[in-house]
């Protein structure tokens, strides 16, 4: 299958000394849905920023669409357009992502920068508004939206580019169950259309529904395990080791018992 991302021995250090990622290697093929699991501070966001071509590794190499991504890659205007039209990133912080004065301008921002045809843009934004039910928000300001609405607008703003690859940073964090469900369905739909989805999360429920393959990032900021979704999710020992589940003690009548506990997964 066609490789989209190929990361080899990536190292990344903040300010040259705080390690963000340590010897990370991974491959992502076209059309896959891959989840990167890890506790807080394991480097998930850093990894996504690297793949989105926003920061560059201090060591190792990262290839996207068979081209090496480094500081100079985006000086090539044709490649910049090519890459930005295909790879989009949903930021963890919706406030940072929504910088335009109104929702409408937010949705138009990406496609306009990338010189997509105006008629096409209108059409795709109209479709997204219907799909996400955000038509009524178009003239509003981002500060007048609820957290769930903000996330929806943020995701619509990146989908308006009609990308191939979706990088999602904690897409379900802080959302109520219904919005969460809607978002998952949307992602499943895009996955069904053959889009590549890469999600950084610790929401195991999301992973069990959306991801085919999983990478686990350890607290040492390196890849501790990888494999098919079922394989990883059934390995409780592994999940416990990486703070993704916890031992939960509770009482049935007068008897105490303990078991591993995951949040948000109905069959656990």
């Amino acid at each position: 299958m066609e490789k989209i991302f190929e990361l080899t021995d990536i190292e990344f250090a903040y300010l040259g000394k705080f390690i963000g990622l340590n010897k990370v290697s991974l491959e992502i093929a076209k059309g896959e849905s891959v989840a990167v699991l890890g506790a807080n501070g394991s480097g998930k966001s850093t990894l996504l920023h690297l793949m989105a071509g926003l920061i560059y590794p201090s060591r190792g190499s990262i290839n996207a669409f068979n081209r090496r991504i480094d500081k100079n890659a985006f000086d090539d205007e044709a490649f910049r357009q090519y890459f930005r039209k295909r790879v989009v990133l949903l930021f963890q912080n919706s406030e940072a992502q929504l910088f335009s004065p109104t929702v409408e301008e937010e949705l138009y921002f990406g496609p306009l920068q990338l010189d997509l045809a105006r008629r096409e843009i209108d059409k795709s934004i109209d479709g997204l508004c219907r799909l996400l039910d955000i038509k009524k928000l178009l003239k509003r300001s981002p500060y007048q939206l609820s957290a769930g609405e903000k996330r929806k607008v943020a995701i619509a703003s990146i989908l308006a580019i009609e990308p191939e690859v979706l990088l999602l940073d904690e897409p379900t964090a802080g959302l109520d169950p219904r919005t969460c469900r809607e978002l998952m369905d949307l992602i499943l739909e895009y996955h069904g259309q053959g889009k590549t989805i890469i999600t950084a999360t610790h929401d195991l429920h999301f992973v069990s529904e959306v991801a085919d393959r999983i990478y686990i990032l350890s607290e040492e900021k390196t890849i501790a395990a990888s494999g098919a979704q079922e394989e990883i999710l059934s390995n409780n020992e592994l999940l416990n080791l990486h703070n993704l589940v916890h031992v939960h003690a509770h009482k049935h009548k007068d008897m105490w018992h303990k078991h591993l506990h995951q949040h948000g997964r109905p069959d656990a």
């Binding site: 910049r80 357009q81 406030e95 301008e105 920068q113 990338l114």
Partner: protein, 375 residues
């Protein structure tokens, strides 16, 4: 000793030291301070007095020319020094008075209430009643927040179905610029007054509460005109026929002309701002040739200022919720300094992230927006 008392003493000591500026150059035979040359000095240095300066020089006549009393200009260092000190004291009093009045005017007076239930519900009243220095930070934070909430509230005017709301923002902006020019050129006070009445009538026809409109516009008057208009009343500045207490007829007419000009200009500006959503106003600016980057910076400022005030307030409450009783002075300063530092760091991180979010969506230095769409 209280901090305020210490500050006052410091300021008075500075006023007493003011004559040093006279004494030291005198000792070293240095002439006047560099850049503070008067008319005579300039003529001596360059040989003539520029005509443009001549014109401007006549606008303002100092109450105490050269900080010296009338007639004592040549009486020697001692009396000149006294003039310096007296000028300093007058200046201090004028500034203190202005700040005091401004503070009175800008802060809402909240009556003390003994009703505990009510006070616990309204955070502002509880804060007012709390003693201690932290009150200041807290109060200003809440006031700022309230100001911006009012701004949002003011957006409800821009969506009302009134007269001014129907006019295109671009036309309004051009009209505003024209009116500002006309107002500054008109010399007939009756015509300016007619324009002022027109602005109020327009506000009324645009479904803006007239009382609210008057409040919004009058708040700027002391800010702009106190220092310029009030002194102009007296015969020291505007020689002429004295009516009472040294107030001259000429002074009165020039002061009221000035205030009316400010008032009319402010009224029209506020009217435009109130009846146009900020996004459309900025777009109108863009279509009138203001550079895109400038407009975009404006938009982003407006967008993020709410978030930062909210973060600041949350941080403040987070600290407060962990405090029992009050903090000692030094410690409180420490906390506030730390607070400002964290806020700075947070905003830096946020700006970095926003920039990345823009880059990621294809931004490459020249923003493209949906211009012209709804103007």
């Amino acid at each position: 000793m209280k901090l305020v008392a210490k500050l006052w003493i410091g300021i008075f000591i500075l006023a007493l030291l003011a004559p040093l500026g006279l004494i030291i150059p005198e000792l070293f035979k240095a002439g006047s301070a560099w850049g503070e040359w008067g008319r005579e000095d300039l003529i001596k240095m360059v040989g003539y007095f520029p005509r443009g300066m001549q014109r401007i020089a006549e606008i303002w006549k100092a109450p105490l020319p050269d900080y010296a009393f009338r007639g004592s200009e040549n009486k020697g260092l001692q009396s000149l020094s006294l003039g310096y000190i007296v000028s300093g004291l007058i200046g201090i009093l004028a500034v203190a008075l202005a700040i005091y009045l401004l503070a009175k005017f800008l802060t809402k007076h909240v009556p003390k209430t003994d009703n505990k239930k009510e006070s616990s519900r309204d955070p502002e009243i509880t804060l007012k009643r709390r003693s201690g220095r932290n009150k200041f930070v807290e109060y200003s934070l809440i006031r700022t927040l309230e100001f911006f909430r009012n701004e949002i509230f003011a957006e409800s005017f821009s969506s009302a179905n009134g007269l001014m709301q129907k006019i295109q923002p671009r036309i309004k902006l051009i009209g505003l610029i024209l009116i500002l020019i006309i107002v500054s050129l008109l010399k007939d006070i009756r015509l300016i007054f007619a324009l002022y009445i027109l602005s109020i009538a327009l506000a009324y026809l645009s479904r803006i509460s007239v009382l609210y409109f008057l409040k919004r516009t009058w708040i700027f008057i002391p800010l702009f005109s106190l220092f310029i208009a009030v002194p102009a009343l007296f015969n020291i500045f505007s020689p002429g026929e004295v009516i009472f207490f040294g107030i001259t007829k000429q002074g009165l007419s020039s002061a009221s002309l000035f205030i009316l000009r400010v008032l009319t200009s402010v009224s029209f500006s506020v009217l435009i701002v109130l009846t146009t959503t900020h996004t459309r106003l900025l777009k109108a600016m863009r279509s009138l040739g203001v550079p895109q980057v400038f407009v975009m910076t404006f938009m982003m400022c407006y967008r993020y200022i709410f978030i930062f005030i909210k973060i600041a307030q949350e941080m403040y409450f987070a600290i407060k919720s962990r405090l029992i009783g009050s903090v000692k002075n030094r410690k409180a300063h420490h906390v506030v300094a730390w607070h400002i530092g964290v806020l700075w760091e947070k905003s830096r991180l946020m700006s970095e992230e926003v920039y990345m979010a823009m880059i990621s969506r294809g931004y490459s230095g020249e923003p493209k927006t949906i211009n012209g769409k709804d103007i």
